[in-house]
Symmetry: C2
Subunit: 472 residues, 2 copies
Amino acid sequence: MASVLRCGSKLRTAAHMPAARALSTTARRAANEKPFFPNEPAAPTVSTPIPGPKNKAAAAELDEVFDVRSLNMLADYHKSIGNYIADLDGNQLLDVYAQIASIPVGYNNPHLRQVSQSEEMITSLINRPALGNFPSSDWSHILRTGILRAAPKGLNQVFTAMAGSDANETAYKAAFMYYRQLQRGGPEVDFTAEEIESSMNNQGPGSPQLSILSFKSAFHGRLFGSLSTTRSKPIHKMDIPAFDWPQATFPMLKYPLEEHVQENAAEEKRCLEEVERLIKEYHNPVAAVMVEPIQSEGGDNHASPAFFQGLRDITKRNKVLFIVDEVQTGKAQTAGYYFGNPALRPNKPYRQFNTWMGDPSRALIFRGIIEEIERHDLVENTRITGDYLYAGLERLAKQYPEHFQNLRGKNQGTFIAWDTPKRDQFLAKAKTVGVNIGGSGAQAVRLRPMLIFQKHHADILLESIEKTINLL
Amino acid sequence: MASVLRCGSKLRTAAHMPAARALSTTARRAANEKPFFPNEPAAPTVSTPIPGPKNKAAAAELDEVFDVRSLNMLADYHKSIGNYIADLDGNQLLDVYAQIASIPVGYNNPHLRQVSQSEEMITSLINRPALGNFPSSDWSHILRTGILRAAPKGLNQVFTAMAGSDANETAYKAAFMYYRQLQRGGPEVDFTAEEIESSMNNQGPGSPQLSILSFKSAFHGRLFGSLSTTRSKPIHKMDIPAFDWPQATFPMLKYPLEEHVQENAAEEKRCLEEVERLIKEYHNPVAAVMVEPIQSEGGDNHASPAFFQGLRDITKRNKVLFIVDEVQTGKAQTAGYYFGNPALRPNKPYRQFNTWMGDPSRALIFRGIIEEIERHDLVENTRITGDYLYAGLERLAKQYPEHFQNLRGKNQGTFIAWDTPKRDQFLAKAKTVGVNIGGSGAQAVRLRPMLIFQKHHADILLESIEKTINLL
């Protein structure tokens, strides 16, 4: 059936970077060297222990009403700028964690400030619509000039959501409805009386025991459906009921890649075979395969383009949907949504629906981010800075081999990571030399600078990493 | 154990109205009669068929990228004001549906406009924090002066979320973690190796087969966990895998209440017995009971205070949590969250966590709403208008008994509904006389005016209802 092939095409969740616009190489280099934030500090400032006395007091006050045991640091966002995050004690840290990789164009970005002051924004904040019933008359325009400019070819439909978790879950719902529609024989075949009755009792056939296949170490969110596909850490999953859904092994590649070509290809082949076997054999039939382009929360695990092509081939062959979770690789763009095509619309209205269906004010911020990325060619900036940073890290890795294992993310912009035995100490000490860095998985240091991270920031980061190592 | 009793106390989700401040009766009456929005239209304007030509064209354009089959009407929010929603064709409808009962203080409320233009708002829009890791230094202040002023006595902790669905699901997660902690023997008892391993495979004991008990006709959201407790309509649930969780019967009261006192009491008793039996016997043990104070989406089903006290007694006696979903009765306040107490914090950090954990810009709007409610004593306004409106509806019900069955919501402010045999026609025709009204369940007309709805609006509504009936 033609529709299978068409709809099997990528159903993407969350953001990905739009293609860079054409600019001459010289113009690009010049753009990269001119600071995007002229008022940024020249270097980090650390004048108290972190957390300092004011931050400690504020955290204690917050703790009375809001759980702060996961607190990293309280930030003063009025004083944060560009790549620098400020705290209450006057410390200014170079931030290469970026709100768990969720913000892309710098603190207090002046263009986003303009967007926030616009009449469109004010109206959307104070007149929050139920988007499925009463969208604003400019909603089509906001989507077309914003979110949809980041849509991959062929996926011209957007379903807006609030965050990554619910974007993923609505994509799963689309997949289940699509899968059952195929089984029924098409959109025109109506539900049976048995389906209608059993669905109200949470039983099959109306509530079918279908599944989403995800990968070991994957992270797709923490609500009940998304958490059933998340396989990152027990602390994320403990005590929460989960669906009986299958997990396949994600390739664990060996580095440097060029020294393990055959081994890695064999590993990927083995994982692909496991995926296909699970699709064919798992007792709860698989409606979709869910995968991150780079496993992020789970430890910065990369796979080759051939692996993803292999996954796509398997899903096509087996008539299951292929969902790509780009929440972290796309930096979330401060909104949640998934892209699909018209065949993925359920056969009746109100099947994929909720009261708010996203937030127009966040869609306006998203549009501002896209504009900022295009205006400054930030994808190209990130490529240039990333190559420069990676080369610097390779030098450090040679110098300090005991602190650098499996350096990875070459040619992936600044999406770089490595494993290190004293990881948590490393992250804590990095703050004392002025850098805010995050970890992923059990052992990885994950770099997630924003897209406005430039070579002069990379120099500071490299120097700070070396200083930190020497403090361990 | 003391902690059971303490934590068994209400775990609330979403908003409820804060108590009205003291004002003299005369001052209240005067406040109610002075229009809150002096620039509101004096009456609805309907100058084209609805949808009119401009709205039709805009809907067709939107449909290319966004599913509009659930469209009610496209709105021009720049021109909407107070209780009146405007469309693109110059029509101005009196809105008693209020974005599926999700906005409380009127279109283009001037105080919310001020809030939206504040530096706090701009900073929160452009520097979106990961609230669990990097909250802003004024987050405690924003919570204390806003959301927490709506917290019920004894529930001094808030977990912020994005919308009703995920607020409910995080409350379920809190309940499951709490339940398992009791089973283990307290917060200090660590997870076993078996629990840790099995949780990663979505199997017990780490991912336990526990349940949330909800009620027939309930609506708690449409993500996978919340949808498993939603029992409103098959179209909401069809084809989506669901957890095997129990449902109890919600009392179906007979009206007028004063004529069916004994029958209704017997019905409520029967339902309470069913709840207790399910808690004691359901094969997947019940960790919490979830209930709406008034079933809204499911048809405006009310129960007596005695029923809710009975539920509370049963949950206490059986050591399960009692969760109250106030998303619709509290008008959602344009944000999602749940209230709890310190004993409901999980025993370790990062168990109840996600990247954003809500949105500070929506928390600022929430605070603005609370301020507006208090300044104009809108709870009292709604009581006064509601009594007036209800009396008018009682008159209409006598005059048109074939169009009014089970009129309900007396002494419930403007949260009023009735059943009518030609419900969908009634709703469609109401638009032609200038009123935007919603339905609930299969037969109910549900009124959900905003809190700024006054007697003169009630007069227009009553007149329009009568006109609509005469068009059927």
